[in-house]
């Protein structure tokens, strides 16, 4: 394990950017129409519970990744399989987000550019940052975060100055009742983005004050929920629930409405750029988790140079991202309809819960 340290601030920033990740492209819970923000809220509650499971596991096994303690709890073979499953899971998600953002770029600003070229240049950044290691990534996040947050707030401010959002669009609340909200929350908003925090089980050991992981993480979840809700409400109030649901990139459509006296307008590419920063952070976190997991499972890899391993992984990443779906529609459909119930739920909820229960049982056995 590389000796690296992430400070508390860096950790919080990393989680917030991670949570924003691809949600700022596809939006969250717009199926629930004007109550989308309520699904975020209920998703957040579930997310906090999941996060508590993850930190509790980490508390039981400090200095270890989920790929390490899975074999301690499940036995050598089953644990090995679970560890590999997580590595593939993180890697797959990394490729997913890479595809998300490459598609975003191709749809919006670089229409004639081949997807492969965009992916290549993304992967260049990802491989480079993976080579440099978690510490550098955390610091880079620290540098970018204020700018991302600041520009995000400025954009929202512009939206309000222009007077686009209309409270009417948010009415009537709870049109279809609470049940509908919970249906929309589970599994979608719960697993994406909140449950995806399972990736941080790979990063907890690098915190310079590991014992604060729980407190910091929950703080970060709360902050990001706040921002997600603000963004979500602004989109809903600006576009109206029907358009928000139809739009491919709702936030972009909202901000493209900004026009202040004909001076402040036409900022779409800048918005996309800001989104990309957040997206890169998310891809890198997943990629790094897979990378760390791989080194954990195959200790022999440590003899190889870091950049070689990450380059090979990077090439694989592009291939997976290219092959995973034929079109953007298919990609989004799979991402929102198939991945949450069949992949996210077992990896984010079921396995960690089983691990937690096992650790309790084992702890009790030891006491006896």
């Amino acid at each position: 394990m590389e000796k690296a340290q992430i400070s508390s601030t860096q950790f919080v920033f990393l989680i917030i950017m991670f949570e924003f990740g691809s949600t700022i492209i596809v939006g969250m819970g717009f199926d629930a129409k004007q109550d989308a923000w309520l699904t975020i809220l209920s998703g957040m509650l579930g997310g906090v519970i999941l996060y508590l499971i993850y930190t509790h596991l980490h508390k039981k096994f400090p200095n270890a990744h989920i790929t390490t303690y899975s074999s301690q709890l499940l036995g050598k073979y089953l644990g090995y399989i679970v560890a590999w499953a997580y590595i593939f899971y993180f890697f797959y998600l990394s490729a997913r987000v890479l595809r998300d953002f490459s598609e975003l770029i191709v749809i919006t600003i670089l229409k004639e550019t081949p997807l492969l070229a965009v992916m290549l240049i993304f992967t260049l950044v990802i491989v480079y940052s993976c080579t440099l290691g978690i510490e550098t990534i955390a610091r880079t996040g620290e540098i970018f975060f204020p700018y991302v947050l600041g520009s995000g707030l400025i954009f929202l401010f512009f939206v309000f100055i222009t007077g686009i959002p209309q409270a009417d669009n948010l009415q009537p609340p709870l049109e279809k009742g609470w049940v509908n909200i919970f249906i929309k929350t589970f599994p979608q908003t719960l697993t994406f983005p909140f449950g995806e925090l399972v990736v941080f089980t790979m990063l907890f050991p690098y915190l310079n004050r590991e014992e604060k992981a729980r407190k910091l993480g929950i703080q970060a979840i709360l902050i990001s929920t706040l921002f997600l809700i603000i963004t979500n409400l602004t989109i809903l109030a600006s576009l109206g629930p029907d358009l928000a649901k139809r739009s491919v990139v709702p936030l972009l459509d909202t901000i493209s409405l900004v026009n202040i006296q004909g001076i402040v307008q036409r900022m779409d590419p800048i918005v996309i750029i800001i989104m990309v920063i957040v997206g890169v952070m998310k891809i890198v976190v997943f990629f790094l988790a897979a990378f760390i997991g791989l080194h954990d499972v195959l200790p022999k890899l440590k003899n190889k140079k870091r950049y070689v391993t990450s380059s090979v992984l990077g090439v694989l990443l592009i291939m997976v991202a290219l092959i995973m779906s034929q079109s953007y529609v298919e990609h989004i459909f799979v991402g929102l309809e198939i991945v949450p119930p069949y992949i996210h739920v077992p990896m984010q909820i079921i396995i960690p819960t089983i691990l937690l229960i096992l650790s309790f049982i084992r702890g009790r056995k030891k006491e006896v």
């Binding site: 919006t108 670089l110 070229a117 240049i121 009417d168 009537p172 109206g240 358009l243 459509d253 409405l257």
Partner: protein
């Protein structure tokens, strides 16, 4: 071995960058479109675009060439038609700077949702252009009028629609996002701005139009086209349009005139702000609405014998204004409820938002219920200031 791999990867990446520039569009290869006009063709659509001649617009010397050119092509769908433009335009059509999209009245009456789909879906088009219907003309004719002062006619139209909403309230600006939102709502019907030409379209077409002090052909913005679904079903007249703006609380600045006792002299007011509040309920299956309009006005001109310095006079004037404005509003209500029978104010949507349970029961029959709805208008005017003098000069 490792080194070889890295070298190959680096080379690969370098190649990718160098052979790039896929999405590149050089400025001098773009035909910048400022206005799009959509007419009905025998089969499908006929599209006219107004394209800037940059050298003429930016020219410091006077030239005899026009600042814009227009091109027309037709196709089975709007997209098809726009692609077919490439046959006639010398450069690639670039739509991001479109200021206005004009539909012909004929097309609007048949329905425009098919064209709206392209306008929303295409990413090159932004969302900041205005939609308008050419009242009584074809969209092509509208785009072929040259305008003085502003060298680009589409920009001129954009500014004109903007100003007439802001200072006269005789029309309403409609952007695509507003239009599509209205189209999708169950309790709201969309509406569009009307524009038309005054004068000869033949001269308007040539540079002669901008060579005279008084241009023979002018473009004007007035009237609001009421739609039902995506079809134009009729026009609100000048006064009705203003009433519509009162009902929707969008009068930012406008004028009202009130006659003196009996002669043909008037007191004029500048409306400085309005505010509306609609309350709706369903009673025995019959929807009723109360609209409170709050108006603030300044005295702009008075030709009557009025002692304006006396608060009582102001009270009386306020009452007259109340009546005048509520008459205007009633006129509009009459038009949309009885003649056009389309809910462009959004009364149904109001019920949906505030009285959702009742709405769910009646939303199926809203089209029949709306014309029968009982709508009351209360206007409350407050005269704030009287300009730099108080009593009029007639008052001695």
């Amino acid at each position: 071995m490792n080194r070889v791999i890295t070298k190959i990867i680096v080379l690969f990446l370098l190649l990718a960058t160098l052979s790039g520039c896929w999405s590149k569009k050089e400025l001098d290869n773009l035909a910048i479109v400022t206005g799009i006009g959509i007419d009905k063709a025998e089969e499908g659509y006929e599209v006219s675009v107004q394209i800037i001649n940059p050298a003429e617009v930016a020219a410091k010397q006077l030239t005899t060439r026009t600042a814009v050119s227009s091109y027309t092509a037709s196709g089975k769908s709007l997209f098809d038609a726009i692609r077919n433009l490439i046959e006639v335009t010398p450069r690639k059509v670039y739509l991001s700077h479109t200021r206005i999209v004009i539909f012909s009245e004929e097309l609007a009456k048949e329905g425009i949702s098919d064209t709206i789909d392209f306008l929303v879906r295409d990413h090159e088009l932004r969302t900041d252009f205005y939609l308008a219907i050419a009242k009584g003309y074809s969209a092509k004719q509208m785009l072929n009028i040259l305008t003085p002062l502003d060298k680009i006619p589409a920009s001129k139209m954009y500014a004109m629609i903007d100003n007439s909403e802001r200072y006269l309230a005789q029309t309403r600006t409609v952007k695509i996002q507003k239009f599509t939102a209205d189209l999708l709502l169950e309790g709201q019907q969309p509406f569009l701005t009307g524009i038309y030409i005054q004068g000869s379209t033949d001269i308007g077409n040539s540079i002669e139009n901008v060579e005279r002090v008084d241009s023979p052909a002018k473009i004007l913005a007035d009237h609001i086209g009421a739609m039902k679904g995506d079809q134009l079903i009729g026009w609100l007249e000048h006064k009705e349009s203003k009433g519509f703006n009162y009902l929707t609380g969008k009068v930012k600045n406008s004028t009202e005139i009130i006659p003196c006792k009996d002669d043909d002299k008037y007191t004029s007011f500048e409306i400085i702000s309005t505010d509306k509040k609609i309350k709706g309920k369903v009673k025995d299956g019959k929807p009723t609405f109360t609209i409170d309009i709050k108006v603030r006005a300044n005295v702009a001109q008075s030709d009557c014998e009025l002692k304006i310095s006396n608060p009582k006079t102001l009270d009386k004037l306020e009452k007259d204004l109340n009546k005048e404005i509520s008459d205007t509003a009633s006129l509009t209500l009459e038009a949309i409820q009885k003649d056009l029978q389309t809910d462009i104010v959004g009364f149904g949507e109001l019920l949906h938002r505030t009285k959702n349970k009742d709405w769910q029961k009646i939303k199926g029959q809203w089209d029949e219920l709306f014309p029968e709805a009982d709508i009351k208008v209360n206007v409350q005017t407050k005269i704030k200031r009287t300009g730099t003098i108080t009593d009029s000069f007639k008052e001695k």
